[in-house]
Amino acid sequence: MSLTQLNATELARSLRAREVSAREVVDAFLSRIESEDAHYKSFLTVDAEGARRDADAAQALLDNGKGGPLTGVPVALKDNISTNGLRTTCASKILDTYVPPFDAHVVERLHAAGCPVLGKTNLDEFAMGASCENSAYFPSRNPWDTDLVPGGSSGGSAAAVSAELAPLSLGSDTGGSIRQPASLCGIVGFKPTYGRVSRYGLVAFGSSLDQIGPMGRNVEDTALLAEAISGHDAMDSTSLPNAAISAAEVKQGTLKGKKFALPKELFADEIDAGVRECVELAIETLTREGAQFQEVSLPSIAYGVTTYYIIAPAEASSNLARFDGIRFGPRLEGEGHIGNVAETRGKLFGPEVKLRIMVGTYALSAGYYDAYYLRAQQVRALMAAEFEQSFQEFDAVLSPTSPVVAFPIGGLVDDPMQLKLIDFCTIPANMGGFPSISLPCGLSNDLPVGMLLTGPVMGDEKLLQTAYSVERGLGRDYRRPPIL
């Protein structure tokens, strides 16, 4: 078995046992990326030199007995996470030449944990999309079937882990951008509680919703990466005081007596029948293992997508104002200052980004603010309250992650509304800042289906524990894409 087939936990064990060196691990993944990524197009930038340098630093930690749980295990980063000296594009032409002079907080944490950074993965431009087709460079492909999308916006990060080009990756999740591609690629994706992972260095999309999170082949790997990147950061005012997530007890949980809420709104007609059946089958299995399920109603879920498509674009319209071609990135010349800005933004932003900037600008305009943005914030509060209420009684809210399995590249181009509804199940967690995790629960039409578990704010450890016992309860080993 080749090194790249090992998951993060196994790699970390081999590294600690000196069965393999950090350099060997990094080289194995780099050479696999070089030979295989042409099929998946998951990376925008590969940093072989940096990864080898990081590997040497990791080896030094291991040699000095200072290695941690993931020392020497490489990670791929979504290309909206700033890396000092390494191009960070957000898959946008407007950042084509941008090289940040600083590392994102999570990158500093990865360095401290001894995790080499392999490179930067593809995404929908500025994380706006659910298929990776909005990348200004190229679409990424689903390792289960390269004619299909990997999901998005963290599609490159999901594809890289699924195709074994990286054992772990980081994504960002504003409305489901970690969990949905994880679901479509058959891996685990975790969005921590808002404020447990610093956003410093994450290029902002919807600041009140954005959260960086880990992706891996199983819950344990994912939990270890969450532990490595979480913690309070004084550079992020929204960082929580007790932000650190511990992975120490992730394997301690049991399904016996665990109570799950099943919102009927998330098992309704919007959900593809095959996906629903797959999740329901998994529920039956878990019931036999001692878990309890109860149907509930969380009516505000119906307004989730609408609310999301006001708040996220509104914040994005302001967050993306800084891309004016003055201080960084390419600049196109126009008539006067406003002309330069209009030319640069008009030509270098993609259509989806421009659409959302316009929607957001409209929603914040005088006279519309109360009707749209303010109202959306009220609905958001209502939705969060409904979920909080159910957490009084249940350990987690359970549903499918995505209403559909992976779909053909270009297949929904003419149906943008359908594409936006894909975030239907994942959006509530962003609205309430809840921790939420997607894990594989079976196949539909030979394609992976993800199960979504959402827990209360700060309940990350417990949610990971629950997810681990669900993974065990479903009783299957990690399922590789058939192509491998």
Partner: protein, 491 residues
Amino acid sequence: MSEYVLSVGMEVHAELRTESKMFCRCPVAFGGMPNTRVCPVCLGLPGTLPVPNRAAVQMVLRTALALNCQVPAHSVFHRKNYFYPDLPKGYQVSQYGETNPIGYYGYLEIPKLDGTTKRIKIRRVHLEEDTGKLLHLPGGGSGVDYNRAGVPLMEIVTDFPPDIEDPDEAKEYLVQLRQTLLYLGVCDGKMEEGSLRCEPNISVRLAGAETYGTKTELKNLNSFRAVQLGCMFEKKRQSELLEGGSKVVQETRGWNEQTESSFLMRVKESEQDYRYFPDPDLIPMEFTPEQIEAERAALPELPLAKSTRYQKDLGLSPYDAGVLTADRAWAEFFESAIGQGGDAKQVCNWMNGDFAKLLNEAGETALTSGEATVGKTSKVRPGHIVELTKLIEAGTISGKIAKEVFGDMFTSGSMPSELVKSKGLTQISDPAEVLAVCEEVVRENAGQAEQYRAGKEGLFGFFVGQVMKKTQGRANPALVQESLKKALETQ
């Protein structure tokens, strides 16, 4: 010409005297090479986040309380969205809303010429970040200096309808506001460096008219005088427009210091939509009643209250009290001297007279306590002045000698009593000794004495001068008068 009434609304921006910028750790300073005090945060690089400067928040809270404002329990930062090259993020972090700013619905009292005070209502005191500066490059083209971008800025806006009704009030409002900010230690008040910027909104209307006229906004006013002259100029310009049947156009006008006139900068076409919304990167500021009360209790006595007290309790003139209270350190020096037993009127005269003049010449400032810095802070302390006034009061030295002593102690820092002793400057107050000198002088100038006695009384001053010369000015002046008369008459 019909009678027109002036209305002035004041918008003042004060850069706060914090060590670092509003949302990053870059230092706050004036001048220097462009873009040397910048970092990823204040350049607005993608992915950076703001962390509020607590000292700045506290300074605005202190100002809000000093200006008698209400303070909300929660105060939110908003984003003000617009594109301009000097605005790195495409939005300015500011504060919006009627009762959201750190301070709202307050007032500032200003003194009137007739000795009464007038209350100028203040609508809001809020915290925001400054922008960068556009520079025109020598070779053509333009650049942006972001050294100023992100410097904490406090905006203080008067209420509408405006209370300020003439140019003197406009100036006095600014004088009082600046002094207050200096007293609070929140702003250095340097209008010429732009750390205190004032933009009046000026309109006129026919006396008795109920509706307010169209206003113009005046910029580039970098002195009190400019504010006063600017308001006068606009009142005249607008009144003449209306009188001639024209209309006042809503526009922004600049002030030309040389020609003392305003010029058109830009016409306000339409109200710009800034799309304010709460900044999701920042959590609301919270102010507890305990915190507010503690801050209020720690406020210093403000200049106008101090001045009134000096007049009432110490019997000083409005002018003297005004000069003493114009600067907090100066008032502290004065109060320390009074505390050490100095006579208010005497101490005030010495401070506002010789001391102020010497400080000005030497470019030094007065220091009540602590170590003096050569060339920067004076060696003269309140104790020096108190001792000097006591020496005069006791008749040990004359006022004239005292001036000399002041000069010496300003340079050396020695106590006046030591200087008097070491230089033998003690006043000669023994009547016999003074009489002896007078008789000697009369003897030596027998001719003049003859003329004096013949009726040329103007010569008396000559004799006084001679006595003073002989005693190096130490003879008690009153005794000299008395003794000379005696000596001239008897010989």
